[in-house]
Amino acid sequence: MSDFQELIKSFSKIREYVRDFFVYGFKTRSDFKDKSPRTYDNQRRRLESWLGPYVRKDYVPGGFNLSLAIDSNLLDTNPLFQVWKTKSFTDNDIQLHFFILDLLQEGNTQTAEEITDRLLTDYEALFDIQTVRRKCNAYAKEGLLKKQKSGKSVVFSLDNTLMQWLKSNKNLRTALAFFQMAGNFGIIANQLLEQMDATNQIFRVKHSFFVHTLEDEILFDLLQAMHKQMAIKLEIKSSKTDRENMVHCIPLQIFTSTRSGRRFLCAFLGSSRRFTCFRLDTVKHVFLLEEAEDYEELLAKLERNRPHLWGVSFQSTERHHLDRLTMTVWALEPTENYIVERLKREGRGGTVTRTARNTYQYETEVFDCNEMLPWIRTFIGRILSLECTAKSVEQRFYKDLQNMYQMYDINDSTDEQNE
């Protein structure tokens, strides 16, 4: 049996485990049916090691639940960033990292041969030239080193100017402390802060979903494809059925929800000539294909369609092109004016009209009114009427409402009077 290794080679393998523990937090060993018990045990042990302070164990019949107790109100950073800091490496990797970068700190330029010699004389470290050259080339590719030609030789150098500027700039450190929690690719801000030995002691962030960081590798590939305006092939694993499939599409934009915690790729499907959204957490791999010829045109078309999107659905269940939804609400003036403000602020371009004293009508036209239901329900307690050209939406709203009355034993006041 091989020794347990705390570090890992591939991020994609651990991604699902972390997500399951973080999002669900009630799964025991037996819930991971697709994985071998040893794999589960090793992954669980790794998570416990990386995320120790946040791991909670609750003993239940048949094992224990391992969950991540993460309360964003109390945190100065995203604990899941730790998962990005677990890449394994070889003994040569770590030694060459420190020796080569140390050797070039003064801004001098050296060939791979010279570096190899200096490693032996200055650090008593013997490496073959191929290994050193490979590492220098890899670091040049990552941007840590500069590679250039000097006569017939290739020389490597290092430029610390930017890092020194960052270290001397308090304002930028404060900005990074904020953006690590509240922006795209927060992990990179977090890495930069760590390099400057700084932490966030200033900001807290609400409605930021920590779990998004697990999708950043996928997001990075998608953005690369979008920059290059390329078609892609997505490997997708359905969250409902666990079935995997491949999709050819043209990636156009990333859609984010601040409420549901989901992020999507909005893409154009050539096969059906439609825009479709794919949840980023279901995308397993992104493969870049050929350049997409009509990319700008598709972007413009998406831009024209977006005002009619409520969320991520471009098509209603009733196959109408657009559906109109009208909701009339009661808001006592002036004490409940905040309700009117909510309609305007959260209504995504819908119109708000005062139709009578204390009565306001909200109206909008979107592709799929089904997506509006969660928001509509937040006005329960003051909805005077709800009408929709997609009758199924109207019916579902009232049916759900009746179910809730039953669930909570809410009787009709007229019934009570009759009794």
Partner: protein
């Protein structure tokens, strides 16, 4: 460019700190540093490599470890990090932090670097429409003064127009600046200057602050904001029952992922979830629960259940 790279690994960071040490280290010093900064089992991997010289990064003199690396060792930025910074320069919020000259200097240093993303590549479809005015000079000035006060644990004289139209003028110590992604707004979490009362967090929308003046008075010792927040949580959490229909479980678990919660499986298809919250979160949590409709059942606490029922009763009274 890779995000998942050993360059950013925890082990490299621990080693950088150990190697940047000016003084010779004992094995105990090394142990302590790994325990502080490494993962829980990192000791088991790192110590043997250093002891047997597989990682030949230290010169051993008797029991002491001397770094072979210069104490001023700096890791330069990778292309990924540069590209990230370039993208930040286009964020409307960057002006809250960087002076125009600083932003220009950074932009100049990143002249040939492509941004990692562009603002228009992202679309947040449910963000509220009335975000804070990040370009407004008064807003920026107040924001920066609050940052300064927060860093120094300093009382600030705050003049505030409350949403109800009242004017509040008092001394407060800013403890944290809280940003809401959904509202696209900053709020100030602060403590009021009160001598004999229990500490209670006051919350202000920064765009409603008319004026901030710093004072010379400081609060010492700095109070623990987490203790204050945790003490404010209701003893009885919200208790939800979730029947896993229409993907309700996954939706709810993700939706409430940011709350302190605990979920237990009751039977094959039913789950119970406890969510911890305080008075400030109550209305928002109620709205969130309502948005799920009948997919979630509130079974406690009585207070929350009462609020939910009142909304339903009011709805029923409206005739549906």
């Amino acid at each position: 460019m890779e995000i998942f790279s050993e360059i950013y690994s925890c082990y490299y960071r621990v080693l950088r700190h150990l190697l940047s040490s000016q003084n010779p280290l004992t094995i105990k010093d090394i142990y302590n540093r790994i325990c502080q900064e490494g993962f829980e089992e990192s000791l088991l991997s790192i110590i043997p490599k250093l002891e047997d010289g597989t990682w030949n990064l230290f010169k051993k003199e008797g029991e002491l470890y001397l770094s072979k690396i210069s104490p001023s060792f700096i890791t330069p930025l990778t292309d990924l990090e540069k590209s990230y910074l370039k993208a930040l320069l286009a964020d409307p919020r960057i002006g809250l932090f960087l002076e125009p000259a600083q932003a220009e200097t950074l932009n100049h240093m990143l002249t040939h670097v492509p941004p990692l993303w562009q603002q228009e590549q992202f679309w947040c479809y449910d963000r509220f429409a009335d975000g804070d005015p990040y370009d407004d000079e008064t807003y920026r000035r107040n924001f920066r003064l609050l940052l300064e006060a927060q860093k120094n644990c300093q009382y600030a004289d705050i003049d505030y127009n409350s949403p109800k139209g009242n004017r509040v003028h008092h001394y407060y110590v800013p403890l944290r600046l809280e940003y809401s992604v959904k509202n696209d707004k900053f709020r100030l979490l602060a403590l009021a200057h009160r001598s004999h009362k229990r500490q209670k967090l006051e919350i202000f929308n920064i765009d409603r602050i008319a004026n901030v003046k710093l004072t010379d008075k400081k609060l010492s010792p700095s109070p623990s904001i987490n203790d204050i927040i945790q003490n404010s949580y209701y003893k009885e959490p919200l208790k939800l029952r979730i029947v896993n229909k229409r993907n309700a479980l996954e939706r709810a678990m993700l939706h409430f992922a940011n709350y302190e919660k605990n979920t237990v499986k009751i039977d094959e298809n039913t789950y119970e979830c406890l969510i911890y919250y305080n008075q400030n979160m109550e209305t928002e949590l109620l709205i969130e629960v309502l948005s799920f409709g009948p997919m979630l059942t509130v079974i406690g606490n009585e207070r929350f259940l009462g609020s939910l029922k009142r909304r339903l009763e009011k709805q029923r009274e409206l005739g549906h």
